[in-house]
């Protein structure tokens, strides 16, 4: 009995470690090699806090040479352990996560893990050195000291279940959606008006906090905290559990933790002393084979019993059922705007919404854009045209500050937005699409759109935890708005389909729906019809015309003259980064000088 309870406890520790790591690796797409370090920090913290206070003259307070602890009761010490782990993780993650390359984070967390293990072994007066900090008092539960595995298993079991529920809920919440967005397309998350550094720092801290809890329980159970329990091997084992189980799927993590956890007792019985080496060989090879032949893991992201329940519930939701007819005819769509934040033109007179003045940018001496000045009129479609290399997309990037201009000013609705970040510009009412779509491929169409809905307080993990009912209500409203945006482009029937499974044309429509969802009045569309099947192009054109009818101000980069002629009210002709002319496409086409520039004739 005690033997099996002990095995169960070991498996549950691994489970907690891997569940928390999955938030990072699976949901956010950031690989941390230091999860065991935070596990260890929790363990040492609880040890130092709960061990009895050293009494002068009585030096044998501990058996490892450490003077003594703070003599705290168990549970407050656990709380502090969680906070310490989380705080350390957040602190080290700030520089690491602002870097773009994933390899940097791997290298830095690897270094942090090795330093931590080394310090655990060498700061003897605090940590007890190689043999560890001992004896740590056992955990208490309602005043009872728990020593036997059959007792401890209950507490650890409760903690594991809570961890599972917490990680699952967090992963599937609006906050989790932002994390997945960061994993799929970080720039797109910023482009719809959301910051990405803070969520990453928070999730790093949260994952470390959970690991700290597991570490605190671990130390109190074994009554010792020693470096080898928290070394790189343990970090890698946790990564293996996440990857084998399937990223962004807590169910898979549980399954894989059980499988790998059971290897220990089985191998102990089979090969005795060499069990740990054999285990390394087995899970190392398993990692290689899974990455080679089944990179999605045992239980892939969009499968598993819980997913199934959730999906069925969604299918039954009235809003979706009502909307799930065939694609709505285009003409009726604009009046279905209520939830989607969008403004109706306020005044009758043509009104300048966006002013771009004196925009200039050079790359290595070559002027990509020079002194470009133009404006956008409310409710009109303006196209940027010009020969290849004229600077059209660069101008988009300069307006949204994706590239910092050398000179120039941008004014939106009378306020200067020069120098603001792309996410701040989106919040102020101007959003852009990308030539290559930049959708969140492994999310459903509706989740893609929901990501862009502004002011989602439910994305705050704190509110998420303390006000679950509010979050639920708010999320229902968000999904309703997202669905309406999808309806505007005629994609509501595919709301639950993964974007990766949609055709390219449909993906472009989802991208437009996402842009609508930001609530921005000014939409910058970068080649909305390129690569779209000829049969689907008409539909995209209709959607863009509808947006104009709904009062949106649109600026587009489009290379096909043919398309510009049909869509745009006005064209801005660019050549070598300069604005040469403005007017209707017909007027521009009639001009001999522009013809010569465009065709080089």
């Amino acid at each position: 009995m005690e033997y099996y309870a002990d095995i169960a406890i070991q498996i549950m520790f691994l489970m907690m470690l891997a569940l928390s790591l999955n938030l990072l690796v699976g949901y956010t797409g950031e690989t941390s090699m230091a999860q065991a370090a935070f596990y260890g920090i929790g363990a040492y913290t609880v040890g130092l806090l709960t061990m009895p206070v050293a009494v002068a003259g009585l030096e044998i307070a501990t058996s490892s040479g450490v003077a003594g602890g703070a003599g705290w009761p168990f549970w407050p010490a656990v709380l502090i352990s969680i906070l310490v782990s989380a705080a350390v993780a957040s602190a080290i993650s700030i520089p690491a996560l602002s870097r773009v390359r994933g390899e940097f984070l791997i290298l830095m967390t690897l270094a942090f893990q090795l330093v931590t293990t080394q310090l655990m072994g060498s700061l003897t007066s605090i940590t007890g050195g190689t043999f560890g900090l001992t004896p740590i008092p056992p955990m208490t539960f309602f005043g009872q000291s728990l020593i036997k595995p059959s007792q401890v298993v209950i507490v650890v079991g409760i903690a594991t279940v809570l961890t599972f529920v917490f990680c699952y809920r967090l992963g599937e919440s609006p906050f989790g959606r932002v994390l997945k967005g960061i994993r799929e397309q970080e720039t797109a998350v910023r482009a719809v008006g959301k910051g990405t550094v803070l969520p990453k720092v928070i999730v790093f801290g949260v994952a470390a906090g959970v690991a700290g809890l597991a570490g605190a329980l671990n130390a109190s159970y074994y009554q010792v905290a020693a470096p080898q329990s928290f070394n790189l091997d343990v970090s890698i084992l946790a990564i293996a559990v996440v990857i084998l189980g399937g990223v962004a799927n807590p169910v898979g993590t549980v399954v894989a933790a059980i499988l790998l956890g059971l290897l220990n007792p089985v191998l102990d019985a089979l090969v005795g002393a060499e069990a740990s080496a054999w285990r390394g060989v087995i899970y190392g090879l398993a990692l290689v084979l899974v990455m080679r032949y089944r990179p999605q893991g045992l239980v892939p992201e969009h499968q598993g019993p819980l997913r199934f329940l959730r999906r069925r519930r969604r299918r039954n939701a009235p809003a979706v059922a009502a909307a799930a007819t065939t694609r709505a005819p285009r003409d009726g769509a604009p009046d279905a705007t209520p939830g989607a934040p969008g403004a109706v033109p306020s005044g009758p007179a043509p009104e300048v919404v966006l002013k771009v003045e004196g925009m200039s940018k050079s790359f290595g001496g070559i002027k990509a854009v020079s002194d470009a000045t133009f404006d956008l009129t409310r409710g009109q479609i303006t196209a940027l045209v010009g020969p290849n290399g004229a600077g059209k997309t660069t101008l988009f990037n300069l307006i949204t500050n994706a590239i910092t201009p050398d000179q120039g000013a941008v004014t939106l609705n009378g306020t200067s937005i020069t120098g603001l970040s792309i996410s701040e510009i989106a919040r102020r009412g101007m959003a852009r699409s990308f030539q290559d779509g930049r959708l969140f491929e492994r999310l459903s169409a509706i989740d893609n759109v929901a990501m862009a809905i502004p002011d989602q307080r439910a994305e705050n993990p704190f509110i998420l935890t303390v006000r679950p009912l509010y979050v639920k209500k708010r999320e229902r409203a968000v999904r309703q708005s997202a669905l309406e945006c999808l309806q505007l482009v005629g994609m509501h029937a595919d709301a639950e389909t993964l974007v990766a499974d949609l055709s390219y044309g449909d993906q472009k429509l989802v991208a437009i729906a996402r842009l609508i969802a930001t609530g921005a009045d000014v939409l910058l569309l970068d080649e909305p019809t390129s690569g779209v099947d000829p049969s689907a192009v008409e539909h995209v054109i209709d959607v863009i015309s509808d947006l104009r009818a709904a009062g949106k101000t649109i600026c587009l980069v489009e290379h096909s003259v043919h398309m510009v002629e049909r869509l745009a009210d006005r064209a801005v002709f660019l050549d070598q980064g300069r604005v040469l002319a403005m007017g209707s496409m017909k007027e521009l086409m009639a001009r001999q000088d522009l013809k010569e520039i465009y065709f080089g004739a």
Binding site: P95, I106, M108, A111, L114, S122, I236, G284, L285, L287
Partner: protein, 298 residues
Amino acid sequence: MHLISAAGASPSLVLQLVVSGVVLGSFYALLGMSVSVIYSTTKVFHFAHAFVYTAAAYVALGTASVLGLPIVLAIVIGLIAAVVLGVTIELVVYRSMRRSGASSLGIFLASLGISIAGPNLIQIIFGPDGRNLPVGNPTLYTVGTVTFTTWDIVTVVVSWVLIGGVLAMRRSRWGLASIAVSANRELSAAVGISPQKIYVYAFAVGSLLIGSAAILFTLNQAATPNMGLQPVLFGFIATFLAGVGNQKTAPLAGFVLGMVVSLSGIWLSQTFQTAVIFGLLFVALIVRPQGIFRKAAV
């Protein structure tokens, strides 16, 4: 690679640390070159390099002490084993993953798997304890107050000869082709260079260098199944500090790293020296994520 105590900074100590720094720095320079050759060309975060390192040492000491082959022959066999292993990993694992469209993270995780499975397999075969290469004891030289051994000289000479060799090979047909692939993969394919072949070449050269480093290490110290992790990590640190894709400066970054570690012995005890390296890495990556050296023309 001498034991250093945290005493006051007497001139003779500083001198001794400089000499140790040259030895350690040369070793790290070799590690940096090895990792950089592979990483800058293939962009694979080749963590399994640690296993190649370990395998070279164990094959050499296994053939020498178990089969009783002459030590020089054993070392050659160890180096061949390193090349074969490195190339096999590329051909069997990475190449097929690339074909099936695996992400670079996916390839890294597979590499991580190999770096776990391999050393554990060695542990099952050879046991967990340290093993020595039967090379006898080196001669100790004393110049003034400074001491060093034959192996220190061998380490410095071999490291720089190998580094020089790799840099010289950059002028050869294959060397030029590998520079081309790391500079512009699509254009390389357009002029008829097969990137696949260049990858194999990079893995062969990188594995030969890391195998040599492993042998140099085991001249002085016992081999253990987990010996590979730390050196490969240092190699990566040197590569990243030098600026990714900058093969020429990776050995220089490695050398600086070794010097700093050694000289930190003036103030720090050895147990904290690794912490110093990681501290450096941390600061350097924050201040200059593009590498500490200005990107030089190739």
